[in-house]
Assembly symmetry: C2
Homo-oligomer: 645 residues x 2
Amino acid sequence: MRLATNEFLPLKNVKIDDGFWGKYQKTAIEQIIPYQWRAINDLVPDAEPSHAIKNLRVAAGLEEGEFGGYVFQDSDVYKWLEAAAYRLTIAPDPELEKTADGVIELMEKAQEDDGYLMTYFQIKEPDKKFTNLLDCHELYCAGHMVEAAVAYREATGKDRLLNIALRFVALIESKIGPEEGKLHGYPGHPELELALMRLYAITGDERHKKLCEYMINARGTEPHFFDGELKRRKGINMWGGYQERVDKRYNQSHKPIREQTVAVGHSVRAGYLFTGAAALAAENGDESLKKAMEVLWNDITLKQMYITGGVGAQVHGEAFSFDYHLPNDSAYNETCAAIAMVFFARQMLRMEPSGRYADVMERLIYNATISGMSLDGRHFFYTNPLSMWEEATKKAGICGHIRSKRPGWFGCACCPPNLARMITSLGSYIYSVGGDTLYTHLYVGSEAEADLPCGKVRIAQKGNYPWDGKISLRLSGGRYALALRIPSWARGFKLKVNGLAARPEMKDGYAVIRREWHDDDSVTLDMPMPVEFIEANPLAREDNGRVALMRGPVVYCFESADNGDRLDALRVADFSSFAAERDDSLFEGAVVLRGKALRRLPWESGELYRPVGADAEEEAAVTAIPYAFWDNRDDTREMLVWIRK
Amino acid sequence: MRLATNEFLPLKNVKIDDGFWGKYQKTAIEQIIPYQWRAINDLVPDAEPSHAIKNLRVAAGLEEGEFGGYVFQDSDVYKWLEAAAYRLTIAPDPELEKTADGVIELMEKAQEDDGYLMTYFQIKEPDKKFTNLLDCHELYCAGHMVEAAVAYREATGKDRLLNIALRFVALIESKIGPEEGKLHGYPGHPELELALMRLYAITGDERHKKLCEYMINARGTEPHFFDGELKRRKGINMWGGYQERVDKRYNQSHKPIREQTVAVGHSVRAGYLFTGAAALAAENGDESLKKAMEVLWNDITLKQMYITGGVGAQVHGEAFSFDYHLPNDSAYNETCAAIAMVFFARQMLRMEPSGRYADVMERLIYNATISGMSLDGRHFFYTNPLSMWEEATKKAGICGHIRSKRPGWFGCACCPPNLARMITSLGSYIYSVGGDTLYTHLYVGSEAEADLPCGKVRIAQKGNYPWDGKISLRLSGGRYALALRIPSWARGFKLKVNGLAARPEMKDGYAVIRREWHDDDSVTLDMPMPVEFIEANPLAREDNGRVALMRGPVVYCFESADNGDRLDALRVADFSSFAAERDDSLFEGAVVLRGKALRRLPWESGELYRPVGADAEEEAAVTAIPYAFWDNRDDTREMLVWIRK
C-alpha cells in the first residue's frame, strides 16, 4: 500500500507571481542558466574551462580531444538541462528549448549502442566502466541525467532525452541487481535512487522502482559491496593511489539504511540518499523504511541543523559532525546539502502532511539555500557559516574553508546549478493534494490548478511573504478541504473566509477548512510577524548565552557593513528596542531589523586579560539583515547570526 | 656593550625545597628520566621502539642495523642527557652519572673524525649531510647536543661531552657562515642559536657567538637560503616528494628577524629562535635586536597568548594563528611551545628585570607547561586546549588533534623530555643578580648563594606558593638590594623586614629594598590571594561574555568529574559565592575554588530552537581545579576554563 498521501502538484499547474521568488526566478533565468550555458561551453573568459559539452562532443566522435574536468563533469550538463526544463515550464523560451534540444541530440550521438553514456569512461577508461561505483560517480551522473529527462519530458512533452535516460537505466539494470552475475552494488554518491523514483512516477515501470529498491536495501549490507569492489581493484582508487579500506560512514554505507539512527558522513550524499529512500517508502508503503527516515529526519532537524537550515557542520568530509555540535564560525553547511534537505522534506511531506516537514522546508528555502547565491546571481558560496570573521578565514586553518566573499561561478560547479533547479522548480513545492484536501505548504504568490475528488480546483495566492504574514487566497468551487500550514514560528493567526472569521480544524500544523466552496471564495490568513529572539537548546553549546533574530521564516544576521567591526563585542539587552523596517536597499520590499545593542568598549590599555571590572559598554544602534542577503556589499569583514545577550 | 644586566644564578647555587616544585622534581626524577631512559633503549613494552640509542650504536659501528625513528631522533638522547645533568645538580646519583657517561662514550665512538655526529645521515644518507637544513633538523640536533654538553659540564665538571659538542660545532662553523664557499644558511628548526649562546657563556669563545650571530642575522635575507637549497635539491624534499616552494612563514624566515613584528608560524621554532636572538642581543648590546624581540614578545604575550600562557593556537603548522584569535576548543598550544616561551622570558629578563617578563614566566610554569604532564608523570599532552568536549575530540575534525586523555609516553617524544629539563632546572629561574641587586623572580621554596659586589650572599625562601601568598626570606649580611617581584595579579602586598613594615622602592614590578643587611635578617612578603574573575580584552572575541577564574598565578578550570556534563550550560552570576578551599585529593596542599553557578536546564521538549522564554536555570554548586591538574581522574568528558557569566 502506498504511503504517499500527499502528491505535490506537477509543476505545469503552478505559476509563481511573487515579489520574493519572482525576483529569484528572474535571476536564475536571466543569470544562472545563461551563465552556466556559457560555462559548460568554455565560453567564460578567465575561467578554467569546464570541458563538459566538449567531452560530449569528443565522446560522440564529433571532435578530437581528451577528457577534461572532474569525473562527474557530465552532471553539469544534466543539471543545466533540468533547470532549463523548469525554466520552460515557467514561460516559453523557444531559443532555449532549441539549445537544449541540441544538447540532447549531442547526448544521443555520444550514447553507446548498449545505452552507456558517461564521457569520462568513454573517453578515458573504456575498460573500467562499472568497476568503481565507490568513487567514480557513474550512477550519480545517471541520476542527474534521469532527473533532467523527467523534467524535460514534463516541461516539453518531448521524449528524446527520456529515451536516452531509459536506455542508460536499462543498461544499469542489466549490470546491477540481486541476480547472480550482476554487481550487488549501489552508488558511492547517492542520486540515482531519487531519480529512479521520479522516473517511476512518469513511466510506472516497476523495474525502475525495483532498481531503486535494490540499491537502497543492498546499501551497507554484508558482504560489503565496496569492500569487494576495492579488493577487485586491488586497492587502487580512482586517483591511482592505494587505499586500504573504504570510509563507509562517509557515504552512509556503514550500516543498512534501516539501521541508521544518526546522520553521518558527507551531507549531500546523505540528503540525496534519504530523499530516495523516503520516496521509495512512500511508493511501497514501506513502514519500516518510513520509520527509519523519520528517525534520521529527526536526528538531522532536531540535533544537527543550524537555525538557518544549514546541515553538514564540518569541512572534514563535507560531513555532519555529531548531535548538537554546531560550531558557527567553521560551519561548512554546503549549499547543496541544504537543497538536498528540501528534497528530503518534500518526500517526508508526501507521506505525512505534517507542518514539521514544511516548517523545515520553509526554513531552508528562505535561509541556508539562497544564502549560497549573491543577489545579482553571479557569485556563489559553497559554505554557509553562521559567523564570519574575514581575518580568520584568511589566516586560521579551522576557518580556511570559509569564504568571506562569494567567488564567481567558475570556482565551483555543483551548488549554482543546484540552486537554479531548486529556484526554477519552486512552484512544485507550494501545494499538494491528499484525499479531498488541497494543502498549501508555502506562502508564495501563485496560481495553481489541482485535481481533487470533486474535480479540478483553482487556487490563487497573494501576499508579501516572507516580509508580511497576511495571505489572501481565492478558490474555485467544489466540496473539498483547504489545509493552510500554520508555521511553527506563528504564535497566532486569524483566518477568514469571505471576510468572516473561520474556525478551522487544526491538524498537524495545518488549519483545515472543509466545506462546499464557491467560485471566487476568498480566504485570508493573517499571521502576526513580530521580531523574535530565538535561543538554542542548551545542548547546542556553541549558542549558549546567545540569541538569534528571526521574523517569520527569515533568520537575520549582523554584518560589519551596518554595525562596524567586532560584532562579537555586541550584546542585545533590550529586546523590545528592535523593530522591523522596510529597507529596499538590498532587495525590494525587504525588511530589516533595527534596535539597540551594547558594545564592549575597547580597552585603553593593551592588556589581554584583567580582573573583571565595570564592563564598560556603550549603546550602539544596530541593524540586522536577512541572513540570506549577507555579503552583498563591498565591506564584508564580519557576519554574525548568534549575538550575545 | 652587553645588555645583560641580570644574570641568573647557576643551577648549583640554588637548591629547591618546595611543596609544589619539590613534588614535580621528584616526579621528573623518579618517573620521567628513568622512563625516558628505557624508552630510548627500546625497553618499554608495547611501545614503538625509539631506536635512539641503537642508532648511536650503529653509527659507532658497535652494531649492525638500519636507522630508526625520526630524522631528529638523536635529540631525544641529548634531551635525556640534559635532564640527567640537571638531576645531578639537584642531588648526586652515581648510577645515573655512570649511565650518562656511558652514553657520552658511545657518542664519542659514533662521532666521525671531522666532528660530524648525526646518526640519520651517518647511517642512511652519508652523502647528504648539510644539504637540507630546511627539513632535516641537523642543526637542531646539534643544538640539543650543545645544551646537554653545557648542562653536563656545569653539573659534573666533566669535559667529555663538551668536547664532542665543540668538535661538532667547529665542523658546523667550517660549513656555515658568511665566507665564500660556506653555506649562507641557518637551521630550519631553530635551537642551535640559543644553544650557542649557552656555549659561549661557558667557553667565552667568540666564534660560538659569531656563529649564532650569523645564523640569526642571515635568516630571512635575500637571496633566500632555503630557496637556493631547495633548488640545489631540485625541489626534492626529505620525504622524497617534489616541493615547489618553501613555507617561510612556517619557520620564521619570511623576513629578517629584525623586521618581524608579528609572531607567525610553528610556535616552538618561534620560541627557540626568539630565545636565541634575545640571548644574542643581551650579549652584544644589540639594541635593534632587543627592540625587535620586545615587539615580538609584546605581540605574543599581549595578543596571541592564552590566559594559561599557552601559545600556538592552531594545529595547522602547529602555529600561531593571528592577533586576538584564541579559540578555546581547538587550541593547539603545544607543551613545548609554552616551555620555549619560558626560555624566551628568561632571556628578556636578563636584559631588563621587568616584572612583565617574570609575570609571563610564572603564568607559564604554573599553567600551560605542566598541564602537559599527568600528576603521576606517566602521561603527556602535546596539546593544551582551554575547553575540551570529549565527543568533539573524537568526532569533529576541528578538534581532532585534541586528546581528552593524556596518552602514555610512547605516543610523543618531544614534550616529556622538554618538561623534564624545565622542571629539573627550575632552580635556575628563581633568582638573578643585576648590579648590586639580588632579584627574586619566582616564589619557590629554595636556598641560593649569589655573588654580589659586596661578596657572597645567601638567600633562603620559604612559603606555600602558589597556594598562599605569604613568603618568608632569610638573608645573609652585606650591602645590597633585594628586589622582590610583585606579581601583576597581586592587588596589594605587605612587606616586612625583621618584623617591621618596610617601604620598598617600586621599580618595574619589583619591590626593592636597598640596605645594609645582617646575617639572618628576615623579610616577609604577604600578598593576599583572593579568587579573581578575569575577563579578556574585547578583541579576543572567543572569550566575550565569559570569565576565567584565577587565584594567584594559578588558572582554574571546571571539569566534568566535579561538575557534571554540559559545562557550557553553566554561568557564574554570583562571583562572591566563590571561596578557596584546600583539597588534597589531587595534589597535596592544593587549593580548589568552590562556589555557585547557574545551569541552563535541559529542555523537556526536543526542540533545537525556540523563542527566548524565561531562561530556566538551576543553581549548581561548582568546583574549579587548577588547570594544570585537569585530566587526572578517570572521568574527563569535559573541561572548561572560560565560563559564561
